[in-house]
Amino acid sequence: MIPALRSDRAQDALWYVVVAAAVVLGAYWVPRLEWTAVAPSWFFLLTALGRSWFLAVISIAFGALAAAPLALLRVYGPPGLRHATIALIEAVRATPELMLIFWVYFTMPLISGSQVTAWNAALGALSIIAAAYLAEVVRAGLNSVPPGQLEAARALGLSSTQAFGLVVLPQALRNMLPALVAQFVALFKTTSLVSAIGVMDFFRAVSVTKNAVFAPYALYLILAAGYFVSCAVISRVVRWLDPRYQLLE
């Protein structure tokens, strides 16, 4: 270690110099990108980013609805059903997301006989993915509440529904929050894969624009910024909801 860099203050100073250099470089480089070529597509790109958000939000909602019964079956279900649920969840979690999207889009119509649109296939596949991962989050949340809590609530005369709804669930939900947000961030990134079946999400919109106008660096900067800012926003929201999150991390 260089002696001059021993102290935290010296290291901070060096870090800020590096950051400042990056900002100056960016300030020089970014305005010189091909913005005039990209400018007419701004609304198209913004709509597509909105579509990615919409896909993520809707499928996490569907996923959460399906995840609750799956997790309950996995924790409290009768043996046969429990093993079937475990097999289902683990199979989905072990399958590549892209493969699942292809599954729903190309192979479901072959066995069911009816066509699905790319949009519905994307929603369906993302919901299945969200359900499998969220089921695990819910299960971990339920397991994180000590069994003594439920027993104590029962001993105090609460019915089993009351004990679950008033005592176990609120604590479990609170413990689940960080993992829930992590899944939402992961799902938002997974939405980029539905471009493979032709859904005009943010990734595909940028690719299409890239084929129409020659502006690779500007468009990739937009692409990276779109995903980065979206994921960062989701992560920030949870810090705002739950200040203890940082301690848990």
């Binding site: 290291q11 683990e90 399958t95 590549p96």
Partner: protein, 213 residues
């Protein structure tokens, strides 16, 4: 529902096998490179050195918030790398960020007092690392690392989008040629599940070897 024809799998066994082999070796390279980079950045993130922590935080924060496909297409289409190097590099960049977080969390979970105590008892730095730090960190890191290695196998399928002939790519090919996508996708999914189970089994065997040592 139309009749299923499983003989298609036997007919296309060469395609499926070569796809499986491609998936396996791409994943294996991905596991090795992302572990190497992840451990390096993770150690930087756990050092009592602000600059190193800042660098590690920037690395993981930047790479974790971008989808794998964005990195892959950037390397392939914008930087113009050939398909295989682009796929391997994207896989490494993507997964090493997650592995770095796992590793640095594992190291930080060993309390500073233990290291101080060991040093004050006269142990050398190498001994502290080998006898105090490593056994505890390994025990903590193994389960999340298993998840990450399964994720490497899963994310390798994204490389099929730049025509890496892996299992997903071959499945698409069978679907296009024969419309027997259901059979092919079932076989491919089963193979992916088997690979994941092998990874989980291998890691837990490794963990118990390390634990009983």
């Amino acid at each position: 529902m139309r009749a299923l024809d499983w003989s298609i799998l036997w007919q296309y066994r060469d395609a499926l096998l070569s796809g499986l082999l491609t998936t396996l070796w791409v994943s294996a390279v991905g596991v090795v490179t992302s572990t190497a980079a992840g451990v390096l950045v993770g150690c930087l993130g756990a050092l009592p050195l602000r600059l190193a922590r800042r660098f590690a935080g920037t690395y993981t924060g930047f790479l974790r918030n971008l989808p794998m496909i964005v990195k892959l297409f950037f390397l392939y289409f914008v930087l113009g790398l050939p398909a295989f190097p682009a796929a391997l590099l994207a896989l490494m960049l993507h997964q090493s960020a997650y592995i770095a977080d796992v590793v640095s969390a594992g190291i930080r979970s060993v309390s500073r007092g233990q290291i101080d105590a060991a040093l004050s008892l006269g142990l050398k730095w190498q001994q502290v690392f080998r006898l105090i730090l490593l056994p505890q960190v390994l025990r903590i890191v193994m389960p999340p690392l298993t998840t990450q290695y399964v994720a490497v196998v899963k994310n390798s399928s994204v490389a099929s989008l730049i025509a890496i002939p892996d299992l997903t790519y071959e499945t698409q090919g069978i679907n296009v040629e024969t419309f027997r996508g259901f059979e092919a996708a079932t076989a491919a999914t089963a193979l992916y599940v088997v690979i994941a189970l092998a990874v989980i089994g291998g890691m837990s065997a490794l963990a118990s070897r390390l634990g009983t040592r």
